[in-house]
Symmetry: D3
Subunit: 158 residues, 6 copies
């Protein structure tokens, strides 16, 4: 398994998509399971509404993780959900070159995540948690914090 | 409460939409609940996927019933789901004039449901259960039974 | 029915929400129906995925229209979908004071929609179709046109 | 407005359902908005996936609140989302008689929420946050905490 | 293709996920198709709401089957739906060790499905159809049958 | 890479499924992105509602394209959405033998798409855009144009 510095553009061949269909796990538990899976190192965890046999509205849990995490992820799914089976397949992940930097708003600092192509920044977005903290601290709309960020950044063709 | 012959075009002012949000009822039970609600006389019962607090994928059960059924419907919802509260509001229902008649396919008879405006048939659809029975009895695709029906009917402008 | 100049903050008591559940209309027709309903003057038309009896994945069509449009809207729904019944209920709509103005980007003009509270602009968003035209004309990402807009606008607390 | 002790079975006529359709608010902000709305006293807040014009996957925010909260709720929606309009309608809420009590598991106490009909407990469920704390403190599956609760409770006909 | 006794923990490398996107098949037919696919031996069949071009709300049918079933499954999809193309990819399935046993409730017997890790039962759930039969026979809530089961079982850490 | 005449039954081994999860791209942009992806040659593009961490309702964009299109598709996704990563996996596509022919309705011509198995037409559907043009030109329901088509065609067992 070849290792890349995580922020350089690369293609990751060591990832799995893992899936379970859940028609007898209450939604209440699924919010909890999501946290456990992120804590264990899953790169992404998300739910899709599905419709199963016998008129059952149900949920598909999907997650992305590196192959080496599979055993731990399976163990969580078996412990925390009602499933008796777990499905997975390899998935290739292309990741842009990434970089972070900080900018100053009048309320405080916000981290920017930048995506680069051929050394040029083509994509910028503020760190949600930073914006949220400022919004809550100063009692301003989150939207206005984002707006303040956007006024300071230049991307791509603009 | 004014009564209309059910097949004449009319506006029904005596219907309710009933809703419950369910984040701790497993999908497995919900297929069952749907049947109980139809058995009790609900006009329609359906599920919508929703997303609730604490990252919970959940389900909204909605149903239509006449006002006089409310007590019985509530009783089923309280017994068969985990909800402690039930919400409802009046909903007006416009219903087209309806009529049924039978047609003969080479495999047997199928009931047609017709919708009329100003005495003219503007809408025709075969009864699903009739088509299904023929499809299963003769081992033919359901789609082909419908196709055979469509070849025999004329509607609206056509 | 009291008339308000459409751009002044007001509460509209003359609106209806109209709903139909569709389990035998193919998706292909529904894109078409949406257009017809907007053409007829519906204020909003949207689809929600639902699950109906007999394991049928289905679609709920919902729309908002003024009460006086109801007859025309019903007529379209009866002609263009397979439903035999249409449901509706009154819905109150609060509308912010609105205003439009134009700004200049390096590629051309874009209309801004502004929302005001107590005479202050608290919300600004560019007209999608304007941004789209510039993006297509100059071969630039739509996202970059929006970014260029955001850099020029000041809202609310920012 | 008549006041009921909150835990007695009653029908609440003072509630509103509030709705906004959002096709230009990023999902990232919507998690934040949900919190603000609950903090302001909304009884329930949830998201439904919808499909809007111009091929836009979008989200309907729905919430329940008492009529007297409407002004504050509207203010949050106008500040924190991109909507220029807010829709609402009255909704009746039936609420079961409720009671809480505590039980002891081997790991600690858990609050039970009970629903009563005619003085009899017909529904029991443990408080999620209590179960979650025990699960995290003792490193056991959440599911096992619930199972331990279920072994101690008797409901309805059982 | 290596064969495992179905109830022993194993990893199945001979499964496929099959997918079709359906924007011109009415929901009414899809309930029927689901049955045909289960009858043919599919391990799982489920529907996901999707949004396709031209504003079409549509449905993705997904199913799991063993590779050797592919020809039969394809044949059903081509006959019963409107699709002209079928997509598939291999998917690995981990299956827990399983066992069933019966327990006695006061209304009758219910089968339990148990999942085992390293010889220990870590997961138990009652057979839905057994519970349903008892609920219907004795006119009791399904939920109460499940509750009666839960009071008799011990799992995992509890 | 072996080339098949596109209309002959064949199995295509050169296709990819590409996926991105989007929780910070507004729905407004996604309608636009869909067009760009189809213009670039994607065979299918569709959206699925998903639920991500931090209570975010979000969207999964999925598309099918040939392997040789991957670079161009990636470039569009990176330019037009907010994602920093793109996931993909090979997917096999079975395609039926296809043929088109024209039929005459009283309003004009419509193209039929036919699917064949072993030289026999087992599936026929009209070209949506043809039907739509006739419906709009003559002010008739789209449904009636389809009905007129169905009356003229014979398929499979019928």
């Amino acid at each position: 398994m070849q290792q890349y510095p995580p922020n350089i553009e690369h293609i990751d061949q060591d990832m799995l998509k893992v899936e379970v269909n859940l028609d007898d796990t209450p939604g209440e538990w699924l919010g909890y399971v999501m946290e456990k899976l992120f804590d264990a190192g899953a790169n992404d965890v998300y739910y899709t509404p599905i419709y199963m046999k016998k008129n059952r509205p149900a949920v598909q849990l999907q997650l992305l993780c590196s192959k080496e995490l599979l055993t731990e992820i399976q163990s969580i799914l078996l412990k925390e959900t009602t499933t008796l089976g777990i499905r997975y397949y390899p998935i290739t992940v292309f990741r842009m070159e990434r970089r972070t930097r900080k900018i100053k708003l009048k309320w405080g600092e916000v981290t920017l995540k930048e995506g680069l192509q051929d050394g040029t920044v083509v994509k910028v977005s503020p760190e949600y948690e930073d914006c949220r903290l400022l919004a809550e601290k100063y009692g301003i709309p989150l939207k206005d914090v984002y707006a303040a960020v956007w006024r300071q950044i230049e991307v791509g063709t603009t």
